[in-house]
Amino acid sequence: MSILKNRRFTTVVLPVLVGIFLIGGGIVLYFHDPEASAGAPKCWFHLLTGWKCAGCGTQRALYHLLHLRPGQAVAYNPFLLIALPYLGLLFYLQYLGGAKRFPRLDKALFGRKGILTAFTVIAVYWIGRNLVGI
């Protein structure tokens, strides 16, 4: 895994690749309704077990979000309402200098308790949505 230890790879090449992947993926997703396309990636967890994972519906939700239909997006995966702002906040703290401006918030979210809380929320939603049928 020496390539993962290369700083140039992780600070330059990887972000660029992820950026291209996200923009390209966004464009492809905009023109292809995941529900109508056979080639759209499927959740392997759902394929194997028949249960939904915490991320199921994200693709369809993002498709509707790209078409500015937030209501339908939320219907496919309501968890995104919390998850997107949370991940955005983490990203801001870690990569856009937020940790220096809000050191206590950074401490709370990246500390052991903060991470375990987020993890518990994901786990509860994961199990809960299969019981309730969201």
Binding site: K5, R7, W44, C53, A54, L90, F91, Q94, A99, G111
Partner: protein
């Protein structure tokens, strides 16, 4: 009187202190310290002069040797090495900021594609902040590295699975068409 410095809470430099004052500062063998003659910060437990602060370790009778880095310094008031640089290998130099625990990506990886590997990455992410607070900088860097490795492998496996699925569907569609 010889002066000693150390890296305290919030990664701030404390000092100068005399050896007697250092006793009262609650230094642990892992605390990074510097004193005149050292080329860089080092855990107190690994230094000749401060080892004696920890009762279980007998004081070393070793001779004091000045390092080449010190020899080049101007005589007068000693200045601790400034701007400790971030060392990926996790050496003795303390990083300025807590290493990136890849938390954003390990959560995404867990939710979106690779459950088991993402969870391993999250567990490593929880260790980073804890080790950082314990001044175990090398340990924090190592945990962060592990979190990164598992996240990337997880994402890679997920992506590969997606590509294979796509190819199978296409092959299936073509076979069905004929």
């Amino acid at each position: 009187m010889k002066k000693y410095y150390y890296i305290g809470a919030q990664n701030t430099q404390k000092g100068p202190y005399t050896l007697e004052e250092m006793r009262g500062e609650g230094i642990t063998p892992q605390t990074l310290v510097w004193y005149e003659g050292m080329s860089d910060w080092k855990p107190a437990g690994e230094t000749e002069e401060l080892r004696c602060l920890f009762a279980s370790v007998p004081p070393a009778g070793g001779t004091y040797q000045s390092t080449p880095g010190y020899a080049a310094q101007q005589p007068g008031i000693p200045v601790p090495p400034a701007g400790a640089t971030f060392n990926q290998a996790g050496g003795s130099t303390p990083p300025q900021t807590r290493p990136d625990s890849w938390l954003v990506w390990s959560i995404l990886s867990t939710i979106l594609c690779c459950l088991p590997l993402g969870i391993v990455a999250i567990i490593y992410a929880t260790k980073v902040d804890k080790l950082w607070d314990m001044h175990d900088y090398a340990g924090a860097v190592k945990a962060a590295q592990q979190a990164k490795t598992f996240t990337l492998i997880g994402a890679g496996v997920g992506l590969l699975g997606g590509i294979i699925y796509f190819i199978l569907i296409m092959v299936g569609a073509m076979a069905g068409g004929f």
